[in-house]
């Protein structure tokens, strides 16, 4: 495995790069006045990103199908959220469904 020095250097580079990504938006936004239209576009972009994240993390593990238990749990939570169930119920049912299915031997 890599030496401690290499690990520290890699961590610092990963942290610095990640921070640069994070602060780019807030910095640029403080310099330029965004039109309401553009502002809305940014919010839609964030929703699209998060939705894609939901889909990929629910269905895939790396490049492969994650198995049935996880998407089933997310779907159960999603239906409850659509029916405006409390957030706590949504999250617990999602986790409980996935855990329960695995207990029954569903991958």
């Amino acid at each position: 495995m890599s030496t401690p020095l290499v690990l520290v250097l890699c961590t610092v580079v990963l942290a610095a790069g990640t921070f640069a990504f994070r602060i780019a938006g807030p910095l640029l936004r403080s310099r330029i006045e965004l039109s309401p239209r553009l502002e809305r576009l940014m919010a839609v972009a964030a929703v699209v990103l998060l939705a894609a994240l939901v889909a990929t993390t629910a269905l895939l593990e790396g490049h492969e199908f994650a198995g049935f238990a996880r998407p089933a749990g997310v779907a159960a939570g999603g239906v409850l959220a659509w029916k405006k169930a409390p957030f706590v119920v949504v999250v617990l049912v999602a986790a409980g469904t996935a855990a329960g299915l695995r207990l029954l031997g569903v991958p």
Binding site: M1, L7, F19, I23, L49, L53, L60, G78, V91, A99
Partner: protein
Amino acid sequence: MRSIWRTLDRDLARDIGLVCVADGVVGVSFGAIAVSSGFPLWLPMLLSLVVFAGAAQFMFIGIVASGGNPVAAVLAGLLVNTRHVPFGFAVGDVLGGGWARRIAGSHLMIDETVAFALAQRDTERRRAAYWACGVGLFLSWNVGVVLGAFGGTAVSDTAVLGLDAAFPAVLLALLLPSLREPATRRAALVGVAIALVTAPFLPAGLPVLLALAGVLAGLGSGGRTKRTEVAGR
């Protein structure tokens, strides 16, 4: 800062608290997995403090532990974290003014804080949700990682608890209010389709970025006039 806690109502605080607990347990698993993969105790703790992005941290540890090149692991982690650039444009105004807030607020920018902020109706609540979720998750994630690093393999497999399903469910529940709007929903559906079709072939992080093309699908909503206006910018 005081006004943030005043704006935060009981329901929102409870929701954020639940996500903190769930992510804390995932943090325990991260610490345990890192140490049981042969990394020194301090590495998962340092990563969690200065990178503070779960997916990138798991990816980094996973690649290096399996004998991969550490530089490749850094690049893979950075690619996964690229999504924070568009996130920053979406929630940049939520952080508040001044350098201290901008720096600290940027470091707390993760999927959950962005999703909680976007789910709120007005600016005041957006700010309160963002900061409460960010500070809460930073604490619970790092405490979890320390416990996992020292405590070993107690919770090395969060799949048994179904927590791998909890993370997408949390984001989905927070997104639903935005998705009730037809133009946003259309954009998201196209984005999801792009991400799912490309994910089996591309490195992690890239499919989610490509999903941004879905935003164009949302633009067409208001007919021709809207589209030409945007194109004319």
